[in-house]
């Protein structure tokens, strides 16, 4: 039984309406069937907890999260690419060790702790998202580039006297490009996942915070819609990366 049915202020008609809604939602497959047909028409239904259409909530909150995620990803990618390329360029142990230690420490922090740190230092939300995604990107990129750098043809190019910068940009990066493009899609999914604890604890009114509130208030339609939306964004980004890769070949 729904907790709302206990509300004495409701008329018998409203109670009947709640029961009818529940009967409609009872069959999982038929529920998702109707849900998806409606969603395809732009009607995501209503949030049970806020009693508002979900489409309006998304319009209000999605841009903010998108902005934080894009800025955060740009920061993280720039830092990870720069550090891993610089470590390879200088061919010294110092930058490599610093990057490895730094990322090893950051990777061991739960997302919510990073959010608390951001709150403590009054850092913007996108910085926190960048801090959560950076260590994973750096580790992966570093291994990819190192692997490409150890290929025999890179050694051959070096033997021909190709300069270090040209070696990295013309010989190492193109080989590592396809897996790096694949990492792009994964990093978007990671950044949206990181947005939940960060927006929730830093009180940034985006969809990450909305998902958290929806879960706390047991608002299933809302959280299912949010999950689908983020999945859609991730799948779209993955497909775009795939297409780019195919065009390049």
């Amino acid at each position: 039984m729904d907790e709302r049915e206990l509300d004495p202020r409701l008329s018998s008609a409203s109670r009947e309406a709640i029961r009818k809604e529940h009967r409609l939602q009872s069959g999982l497959i038929s529920y998702y069937g109707t849900y998806l047909t409606r969603a395809a028409q732009g009607n995501f239904g209503r949030s049970e907890w806020l009693e508002r259409p979900i489409a309006g909530l998304l319009k209000e909150r999605f841009p903010l999260t998108l902005r934080s995620v894009v800025l955060g990803l740009l920061t993280a990618w720039a830092a990870a690419l720069f550090l891993s390329l610089a470590a390879l360029y200088s061919r010294g142990w110092f930058l490599d060790l610093t990057g490895t230690l730094f990322s090893g420490l950051l990777i061991a922090l739960p997302g919510a702790v990073v959010a608390l740190l951001a709150m403590y230092f009054r850092a913007p939300v996108f910085v926190a998202i960048g801090v959560v995604t950076f260590p994973k990107l750096f580790r992966y990129l570093r291994n990819l580039l190192l692997h490409a750098y150890e290929q025999p043809y890179v050694l051959a190019a070096r033997a021909r006297g190709v300069g270090q910068a040209r070696l990295l940009l013309r010989h190492v990066l193109p080989l590592a490009a396809p897996p790096v493009a694949a990492l792009l899609g994964v990093s978007i999914s990671m950044a949206f996942g990181a947005a939940i604890p960060i927006e929730a604890l830093c009180d940034s009114p985006g969809i990450g915070q909305l998902a958290w509130l929806a879960a706390l208030n047991r608002d299933l339609p809302l959280i299912v819609t949010l999950t689908l939306l983020v999945t859609l964004v991730t799948v779209a980004a993955n497909s775009a990366a795939d297409l780019l890769h195919q065009r390049a070949q």
């Binding site: 420490l105 922090l109 997302g111 996942g193 604890p197």
Partner: protein, 271 residues
């Protein structure tokens, strides 16, 4: 001994010590994790409370010891579940090929596109509000294990696919081995390092995810302690400033995750 071996031995000993401390929580402290000392909330360390108390006056050392038990017993259990799922379906996909391979791989790809945290809190929202702490603990780690397999599955699949066309399997088939024997005696020993590596990398991942979930109030329920629950105390900045020992759960968690990474099995088993 090389530097790397020393580091791995050291990390291993630290991990063993922490696990032992969690299992022997009862003899480390004689307080219960939910006993409240109402006259001493947010107390600084003293002989009675070596790490002080939290905002409800509960002994922090006792909560840390029992929280370590919860986190370090259940995260490996969840990792085992995830690895079993990944091993079973990844193995089938890699060895059988054909439509089952396509089906399993597309399921894994789809699950990888779903952001884990969104799905976790959606599933957690299905549970009623007033579940007992014990059920919340089990539900948290079972969902972690049941959802944390897609990345491992792809690794296991790649390893199993390499085995599919190997000569020794052909020989085994030619000499009339039954499928069960091939699977147990020829395939499993070859996949064991890969499976173990996946099990090992899943543990810190689940420890961290549990911490985030519990800090958001969607993981382990009070009064049962877990590392995530203990980290919730850090939200009160002034209390942390007064008693820096409140940071000890964070230090322990970071230390343990770093140790897990340092012992990481050979890298070739991971890619």
């Amino acid at each position: 001994m090389s530097g790397k071996t020393i580091l791995r031995t050291l990390s291993g000993s630290i991990l063993c010590a922490v696990v032992a401390a969690g299992l022997l929580a009862g003899s480390l402290t004689h307080y219960s994790y939910d006993r409240q000392f109402r006259e001493a909330p947010n107390a600084t360390p003293s002989a009675l409370h070596p790490l002080g108390t939290d905002s409800l006056g509960r002994d922090l050392l006792a909560r840390l010891a029992y929280g370590t038990r919860v986190s370090l017993v259940l995260a490996p259990a969840a990792a085992l579940l995830a690895t079993l799922i990944a091993g079973l379906f990844g193995g089938i996909a890699g060895l059988a090929g054909g439509w089952s391979e396509k089906l399993i791989l597309s399921a894994a790809d789809l699950s990888m596109a779903l952001p884990l945290l969104f799905v976790l809190i959606a599933l957690r929202a299905l549970l009623p509000l007033d579940v007992s702490p014990l059920i919340s603990v089990v539900a948290t780690f079972v969902t972690l294990g049941a959802l944390g397999w897609p990345a491992s599955l792809r690794v296991v699949w790649a390893a199993a696919r390499n085995l599919r066309n190997s000569d020794f399997l052909l020989l085994a088939r030619a000499s009339g081995c039954t499928p069960a024997r091939i699977l147990l005696r020829h395939v499993m020993p070859n996949l064991r390092p890969v499976l173990f590596a996946q099990f090992w990398v899943s543990i810190p991942l689940f420890v961290l995810t549990e911490a985030t979930l519990s800090m958001l109030g969607l993981g382990v329920m009070e009064p049962l302690p877990s590392w995530g629950n203990l980290l919730k105390g850090l939200e009160d900045f002034s209390a942390v400033r007064a008693n820096p020992w409140m940071l000890s759960p964070l230090v322990l968690l970071v230390g343990v995750v770093v140790c897990f990474q340092l012992i990481l099995p050979a890298e070739e088993a991971l890619t």
